[in-house]
C-alpha cells in the first residue's frame, strides 16, 4: 500500500506539470495516502486510544448501558499492580515468552538447516511441518488437552510404555508441570513459523560462500558460525522480534489448555487481563493490565532493536 502510494507520488512529481500547480500535486499525494491513514486510524488508532482512556475510567457493565464511566485517575493501575496474582502472572509471562522463543528458535533453526539439504520427500515433509500453523488454535488446544490428559492421554501412555515414567505425569493439573506443558505446546505451535522464515533466509545465502569456506577449512560448525549466522542475522532479528510480540500476548492457547489454572500456575498478564474484563466485568482493570502488557512488549522491542542496530554497525 505504502510503496504503491510512494511510487505514485513520485510519478506525480516527475510528471510534466500541465497546470503547474504544486498545491494540486500535494493534494493528489495526500489523496493516495488517505485511505491507508484512515484505515490505520480507525482500526488501530481508535481501539488503542479507547483502551488507553478506558484504563483511567471506572468502566463496568453498567457503562455500556448508561455511557457513564467516571474518571478514576490511576486507581485502575494501582489495583492491577496490587493484584495478588500480578507478580506470578508477570513471572509466568516472562518464563513463557523466553522459553517458548528459545525452544521454537533452536528447533526451527535445526529443522531449517536439515531441510537445506535436499533429499527425497523433503518437499512433502516441509509442507507437513506447516500443519500446526494451519490448524485453528482452539482445535490444537483441545487436541493437546486430550494428549496431555493425566489418566488416558497418549503422551503418558507412550512414556510409560517405553518405560520413561512409572506413574502418570499430571501435565495440566499440577502447578509444577502445567507451565512446562503449556510452553511445550506453544513451542510446537511456533516451530513452523520459525522454519519457514529461517529456511527462506537460508535459501538466500549463495552456495559459493560455503564452497569458498570449505577451501579455507570452514566446514560444519565453523561454516555455520562464520557464514550462515552472520548472513542470516536480518532474518533472525525479524523472527525473534515477531516471536516475542506473538508470544507475549498468547491468550487462546492458554485459555484452551488450562484457563490459567490450576491454581493460577499458568496465569499470564494476557490471561489475567482477559479474566478481569470478561469474567469480572471490570473493563477498566482489564484495560489497565492490557496497557501494562503493551508497555512491556514495547520495551522488549526497543531494547532488541537497539541491540540489533549496534550489532549491525559493528558487523
Amino acid at each position: 500500500m505504502t510503496t504503491t502510494a510512494a511510487a505514485t507520488a513520485e510519478a506525480a512529481r516527475s510528471a510534466p506539470r500541465r497546470r503547474g500547480r504544486a498545491a494540486g500535486s500535494a493534494l493528489v499525494r495526500y489523496g493516495f495516502i488517505a485511505p491507508a491513514a484512515l484505515y490505520l486510524a480507525l482500526f488501530f488508532g481508535y481501539p488503542i486510544v479507547k483502551n488507553f482512556t478506558m484504563s483511567f475510567q471506572e468502566y463496568t457493565s453498567a457503562t455500556f448501558f448508561s455511557g457513564v464511566a467516571p474518571f478514576v485517575g490511576l486507581a485502575n493501575y494501582r489495583a492491577v499492580l496490587a493484584d495478588p496474582v500480578f507478580a506470578k502472572a508477570l513471572a509466568n509471562t516472562g518464563i513463557f515468552t523466553i522459553v517458548s522463543i528459545a525452544g521454537q528458535f533452536v528447533i526451527g533453526m535445526a529443522l531449517a538447516l536439515f531441510f537445506r539439504k535436499s533429499f527425497p520427500l523433503s518437499g512433502v515433509l516441509r509442507s507437513m511441518l506447516l500443519l500446526p500453523w494451519l490448524l485453528p488454535m482452539i482445535v490444537s488446544a483441545a487436541v493437546w488437552r486430550w494428549i496431555l490428559e493425566q489418566d488416558s492421554g497418549i503422551l503418558n501412555e507412550f512414556l510409560s510404555a517405553v518405560g520413561v515414567i512409572s506413574s502418570p505425569i499430571p501435565w495440566l493439573t499440577s502447578s509444577d508441570t502445567a507451565l512446562i506443558a503449556v510452553v511445550m505446546v506453544n513451542i510446537w505451535l511456533g516451530i513452523p513459523f520459525n522454519v519457514v522464515l529461517l529456511y527462506s533466509g537460508l535459501q538466500a545465502i549463495p552456495e559459493q560462500l560455503y564452497e569458498a569456506g570449505e577451501i579455507d577449512g570452514a566446514t560444519g560448525w565453523a561454516a555455520f558460525r562464520h557464514i550462515t549466522l552472520p548472513l542470516l542475522r536480518p532474518v533472525v532479528s525479524v523472527v525473534l522480534l515477531l516471536g516475542v510480540i506473538y508470544t507475549i500476548k498468547v491468550l487462546d492457547l492458554i485459555l484452551g489448555l488450562t484457563g490459567g489454572g490450576p491454581a493460577n500456575a499458568t496465569q499470564t498478564i494476557a490471561t489475567r487481563s482477559y479474566e478481569m474484563s470478561f469474567v469480572e466485568f471490570d473493563f477498566g482493570h482489564g484495560a489497565a493490565l492490557g496497557n501494562v502488557l503493551i508497555v512491556i512488549a514495547l520495551l522488549f522491542s526497543v531494547i532488541y532493536l537497539r541491540a540489533n542496530a549496534r550489532a549491525a554497525k559493528k558487523g
Binding site: N51, E149, T173, L255, G256, G259, P262, S277, E280
Partner: protein, 427 residues
C-alpha cells in the same frame, strides 16, 4: 449455569470422544475481536427492540435441537395469541453477555431477553432491564427460591419457566457389583468412592475447574455442610474443600478434576471411567445417545450426616424485558412473557429439555410423569439461588471460592488457610 450446559449438549450429540473446544477456548476466540467491537460502540440514543410493531425481537442462547425447537414453538404460539410474531436471534452461550453489553451500548436491546440466572443481577444493575411488576406480570405460583434467582434489589426482573440443578449420577452395574447402595452421607460417599475405584476406573468424577462452573459444583457440598457465601472463612466451607481433597488424595477421584468442566465429567462417566459423577439433567440426552447400554440412576447429593438437607444451587435461564424505551412494545412483551411461563408451557418445555418446572404444582405433576427426573425435582425443591444473598457481589465471591479450592487440590494448601486467604482477598 446452562451456557455450559446447552452448548455441551450440542457438541455431545455428535460424539463423546471427539476432542472438542472448551467454553474457555471459544471464549478466547471471541475475546480479541470482542474487545475491539465492545470498544467500538459507544454511541448513545434511544430505541432498540424491533421497528415493526407486530414483531417481537427475542434473544437467547438455545442452540441445541432439544432446546431450540420447543422454545421456538412455545414462543411462536404465545406470541400469536396476542397477535404478534417473533424474530429470534440465537447466540452462542459463551458470547451472550458480550452481545448483551454491545446491544446495551448501541441501544439495540431486544424486546425479550434470556439470561443465565447468575448474570441477571449484573445486567439489571446496569439499568438495562425493567422490573416485571411495572408491566403487571403475575409471579404467584413460582417457588420463592426461583424468584430470588431473578430478583435484583427486591424487585423481580426475570422469570425462569424451568430450572435445573445438579445431583449424583451413578453406574448401577458398578455399584451392584461392589454390593453398594448409592451413598447418602459424606462417609458413605468416600467409602463407596474408594471401593468403586480399581484399575482405570475412578470412584467419582466432579468438576473442580477454576471457573464459575467449578464453583457451581462445589456449592452443594459447601451449602449442605452449613457453609455460606456471605462468609467463606468458616470451617463449614473449608470442610467441603476437605471432602474434595480427601477424594483426590485417596485416589478415588482423578487429579484431572482440577481441569475438568462438567462436559468432561459426564464423558468420564459415559466411558465407564467413573462410577459416580456430579452432573445435571441437561446432559441426560447426550448420555442416552452416546452410551445407550450404560445403566445409571441419579441420587441426591450426599450430605455431611444422616438426615441433613442436601442444598444444591439453582440453575437455569431467566427471561427479562429490556429497557428499550418503547413502552407499548414492552407491554406486549410482558403479555407474551406471562403466557410463556404458564404452568402448561413449563411442563411442555420441561419435558422437551429435561428441566424442572418452576411452578411448585407443575413440578409435582412433572415428577409423577417423569420418574427418571424425580430426583432432580426433589433436589430443586431445596435448591438455592447463587445470587440471592450477594447480588452483584456474587461473581467476586464465586471466584474467591474456586481460587481457594484449587489451592487446596493443586498446591495442597490447608483448606482453612486457603479459604481465610480467599475471604481476605474479598476485603
Amino acid at each position: 449455569m446452562s451456557h455450559h450446559t446447552t452448548r455441551a449438549a450440542a457438541v455431545r450429540s455428535t460424539s463423546a470422544f471427539v476432542p472438542r473446544p472448551t467454553r474457555r477456548a471459544l471464549g478466547a476466540l471471541v475475546a480479541a475481536p470482542g474487545l475491539l467491537s465492545l470498544a467500538a460502540c459507544g454511541g448513545s440514543g434511544t430505541g432498540g427492540g424491533s421497528g415493526d410493531p407486530s414483531v417481537l425481537r427475542v434473544v437467547d442462547y438455545y442452540n441445541t435441537p432439544a432446546d431450540d425447537v420447543v422454545i421456538q414453538e412455545t414462543l411462536e404460539t404465545v406470541a400469536s395469541e396476542v397477535g404478534m410474531t417473533i424474530s429470534r436471534e440465537k447466540i452462542p452461550g459463551d458470547q451472550l453477555i458480550q452481545k448483551v453489553l454491545q446491544m446495551s451500548s448501541s441501544k439495540t436491546l431486544p424486546d425479550l431477553l434470556m439470561l443465565d440466572n447468575p448474570d441477571l443481577q449484573e445486567i439489571a444493575s446496569s439499568g438495562a432491564l425493567v422490573p416485571l411488576e411495572d408491566f403487571g406480570i403475575d409471579t404467584s405460583g413460582f417457588q420463592p427460591e426461583i424468584l430470588d434467582a431473578g430478583t435484583y434489589e427486591g424487585k423481580v426482573y426475570g422469570l425462569a419457566p424451568t430450572v435445573n440443578t445438579i445431583a449424583l449420577f451413578y453406574n448401577t452395574a458398578m455399584l451392584a457389583e461392589a454390593g453398594l447402595e448409592p451413598p447418602t452421607t459424606w462417609d458413605e460417599l468416600t467409602s463407596a468412592a474408594k471401593a468403586l475405584t480399581h484399575d482405570d476406573v475412578y470412584g467419582i468424577a466432579f468438576s473442580a475447574i477454576a471457573t464459575y462452573e467449578g464453583t457451581w459444583q462445589f456449592l452443594p457440598f459447601m451449602w449442605s455442610n452449613g457453609g455460606d457465601e456471605t462468609d467463606i472463612a468458616t470451617p463449614e466451607v473449608a470442610g467441603a474443600a476437605q471432602l474434595w481433597a480427601d477424594l483426590v488424595e485417596d485416589g478415588s477421584a482423578s487429579q484431572g478434576v482440577v481441569n475438568w468442566g462438567q462436559g468432561d465429567v459426564i464423558d468420564q462417566f459415559k466411558a465407564g471411567k467413573a462410577a459416580m459423577a456430579v452432573n445435571g439433567p441437561w446432559n441426560i440426552v447426550g448420555l442416552q445417545n452416546d452410551a445407550p447400554d450404560l445403566e445409571w440412576e441419579v441420587a441426591i447429593i450426599p450430605v455431611p450426616a444422616e438426615g441433613e438437607d442436601s442444598v444444591a444451587p439453582l440453575g437455569g435461564e431467566v427471561w427479562t424485558i429490556p429497557q428499550t424505551g418503547d413502552g407499548e412494545k414492552q407491554q406486549q412483551a410482558a403479555e407474551v412473557l406471562q403466557k410463556f411461563v404458564s404452568p402448561e408451557n413449563q411442563l411442555r418445555m420441561g419435558t422437551a429439555r429435561n428441566t424442572i418446572p418452576a411452578d411448585a404444582e407443575a413440578a409435582q405433576t412433572f415428577a409423577a410423569d417423569h420418574p427418571e427426573l424425580a430426583t432432580f425435582v426433589e433436589q430443586v425443591s431445596t435448591a438455592r439461588s447463587r445470587t440471592g444473598k450477594l447480588g452483584t457481589q456474587w461473581p467476586a465471591t464465586a471466584k474467591a471460592i474456586y481460587t481457594a479450592y484449587q489451592q487446596v487440590l493443586v498446591d495442597g494448601v490447608d483448606p482453612e488457610t486457603a479459604f481465610s486467604d480467599a475471604a481476605a482477598s474479598l476485603g
